[in-house]
């Protein structure tokens, strides 16, 4: 059988549902986290930009309002006035003069000072110190001529503004994002379970139906729902099951036809053969006055005719067994006695050694037992050598009938093949008087009883056939056993 080798991953759960749910939840969580994260980053960017722009505009507006009233060149007093008008953490410089207040002025970086001097424009920098995030703004105050030209005034203003409100806002957003992601988890799990049910239910149904099909219920069909791949699969399954059912039905029909034909043929042959045997026997009786050659020919003709009749008989028997037309008529009997009867009616009492040790009771079909034992003993007489011995004994719940000969033993190591139809150990021995069906009939009768027959070689003798039949002593006598024949 050609199986696909799946990779073995020890940590990966084997259940389809678990795998499905895990994957679904993982994808959902990645999506939720990515979306929330991207939204957060974008919102943070615009919040910081907006905060920064508003702070810069506010400082610029205030300086623009205050500057026309500020004396120039400024003295210390003028610088102090501007500084106190602008807020707490402010530094104003003009050449050698400096007016500063507030504790956060240490955050003003050299880069920022350089930028202010070099570019004559507003410069800002976000700095995170021990007291939280701050926005450091720095700008020169320009002089503008009546023609609109700008020139340096030498006055520089540094303002440090606290960004804690923005930080607090961001922290609130962070909590909201984390809560959103946490809330998405149970939602994702519930959705995954829901979706996995709708996907896995048809798969489970398909599996159940396949099992039923395997168990022999060929009429199993699925009801495809929807138009997806699973519905296609269900449709394919139904087609397969229908095709299988058709083929099996056809085969059964053909087999029944063949069996009926065999039965019909053997039945039709029996009557003319019986008439032929009677005629042959009359001829044989008349043959005493004939020449020895003619007598021999007549005897041979009788013998062959009898064999033909036996073959037709056996074929009829086996076709009845095949058709299941045979019903067991169980009755409680002494099996040892029945076996003795079989030997006596066949005229084998002299050739076959049978010493019953006592009655062995069993509920069996007398006729079936007779056929089975007669075939075993007949086989031993034909193919083995004398002495042939028969033994009947009880063995727990079975009755065991053992037929032993002293011939060359079994011709084949595969003893099961002995019980196939028309099995010939030696194709040259066509002259043997057996039909080739005897052991097969024995086997069928044994199975009909719920028993079996086996063969093996034994030391210091030839072949041994063992027929096992259940005794059924505890069963109700009224119960008819209808064993379906295989």
């Amino acid at each position: 059988m050609n199986r696909i080798a799946w990779p073995k991953i020890s940590w990966w759960p084997t259940g389809l549902r678990t795998r499905f749910v895990l994957t679904f939840v993982a994808v959902a969580m990645i999506a939720a986290t990515a979306a929330s994260g991207a939204g957060y980053v974008a919102a943070r960017g615009s919040l910081i930009d907006e905060t920064q722009r508003r702070a810069v505009d506010s400082v610029r507006d205030r300086i623009t309002r205050l500057a026309p009233d500020m004396s120039y060149p400024p003295d210390q007093q003028a610088l102090d006035r501007l500084r106190s008008s602008l807020g707490d953490d402010v530094m104003v410089t003009y050449e050698e003069l400096t007016s500063a207040s507030g504790s956060a002025l240490g955050l003003i970086s050299d880069n920022l000072r350089t930028a202010v001097v070099e570019q004559d424009r507003f410069a800002v920098q976000r700095v995170v110190g021990e007291s939280g995030p701050k926005l450091v703004m720095a700008t020169p105050i320009m002089r503008t001529g009546i023609d609109g030209r700008r020139s340096e005034s030498g006055v520089e203003v540094y303002v440090v503004e606290d960004l804690s409100p923005a930080q607090a806002q961001l922290d609130r957003w962070t909590r909201i994002v984390a809560l959103t992601i946490a809330a998405a988890l149970p939602l994702a799990i519930v959705s995954a379970l829901f979706v996995s049910r709708s996907v896995l239910r048809p798969i489970r149904r398909l599996g159940d139906s396949a099992n039923q099909l395997a168990a022999g219920n060929l009429s199993t069909r699925l009801e495809p729902s929807g138009r997806d791949e699973l519905a296609d699969l269900a449709h394919t399954f139904n087609q397969t099951a229908a095709a299988l059912e058709r083929s099996v039905e056809e085969l059964r029909h053909q087999e029944a036809e063949a069996r009926r034909f065999v039965g019909d043929v053997s039945h039709e042959l029996r009557t003319p053969l019986m008439a032929l045997i009677s005629i042959m026997e009359m001829l044989e009786a008349d043959a005493r006055s004939w020449s020895p050659e003619d007598q021999e020919m007549a005897a041979m003709a009788v013998e062959r005719t009898r064999k033909l009749a036996r073959l037709a008989e056996d074929l009829l028997e086996i076709s009845r067994l095949d058709a299941g037309a045979v019903e067991l008529r169980l009755e409680e009997i002494d099996v040892a006695h029945a076996v003795a009867d079989t030997l006596r009616t066949r005229g084998w009492s002299d050739e076959v050694a049978f010493a019953p040790t006592g009655p062995v009771l069993a509920r069996v079909d007398v006729h079936r037992l007779d056929v089975a034992v007669a075939n075993l003993v007949g086989n031993a007489l034909r193919h083995g050598d004398l002495p042939v011995s028969v033994e009947v004994r009880a063995q727990t719940d079975d009755v065991v009938i053992v037929v032993t000969d002293h011939g060359p033993g079994l011709p084949d190591t595969d003893t099961e093949r002995l019980f196939t139809r028309f099995y010939k150990a030696d194709s040259a021995r066509t002259g043997s008087s057996g039909s080739g069906l005897g052991l097969a009939i024995t086997k069928a009768n044994a199975m009909l009883h719920g028993g079996d027959v086996r063969a093996h070689d034994i030391d210091h003798a030839g072949a041994q056939f063992v027929l096992l039949l259940p005794r059924r002593l505890n069963e109700e006598p009224e119960t008819d056993v209808h064993d379906a024949h295989a």
Partner: protein
């Protein structure tokens, strides 16, 4: 191979999730930055106020009055109404603006500046009106406001309105 690929994919996914969660839950709020540009620097410092007078040819000429600060439009117009200084007269300038003791009323509403002068049209000339308008325009320009978007109008007690642009500034 398939096992390896599955593991690697799983590893990538895990890394992505862990990074995303770390970014979000780590509370990376305000981060330090480089120096960024914050736009135009403010302006408005000046050593004095620019007043406009008339020279011998009748042309308007700027003259800086050393007040130590730029001052407001109202302050500048007030200085103009207060009369010409000796230094300015020595430079050959005169003023067509009548000297009055009452101050002007200036409404500065951003883009609209209205100057109410305390005299009638008979007391001044067209050049005198231009002196007021140009002095006001010089203050607007020096304080960093765009002169072409600020409309200056002058109203006299006799009721006339003048809202033409200064012929020399802006």
């Amino acid at each position: 191979m398939s096992t390896m690929r599955t593991r690697r994919t799983f590893g990538h996914a895990t890394a992505a999730v862990v990074t995303a969660i770390a970014v979000v839950a780590g509370g990376c709020g305000v981060e330090p930055s480089d120096v960024e540009d914050g736009g135009e620097a403010p302006t408005g410092l000046a050593e004095g106020t620019t007043l406009y007078f008339v020279d011998a040819e009748g042309q308007l000429q700027p003259s800086i009055r050393e007040t130590g600060r730029l001052g407001s439009i109202g302050g500048a117009v007030q200085l103009l109404i207060s009369g010409i200084s000796r230094t300015e007269q020595a430079a050959g300038l005169h003023s067509d603006v009548p000297v009055v003791t009452t101050g002007p009323v200036v409404e500065d509403a951003g883009n609209y500046v209205t100057i109410r002068l305390p005299y009638a049209s008979a007391e001044t000339t067209r050049t005198g009106i231009d002196q007021v308008i140009c002095t006001a325009a010089a203050v607007v320009a020096s304080s960093g406001r765009p002169t072409d978007s600020v409309e200056i109008s002058v109203r006299l007690t006799s009721g006339e309105d003048f809202d033409h642009a200064c012929p020399v500034v802006g």
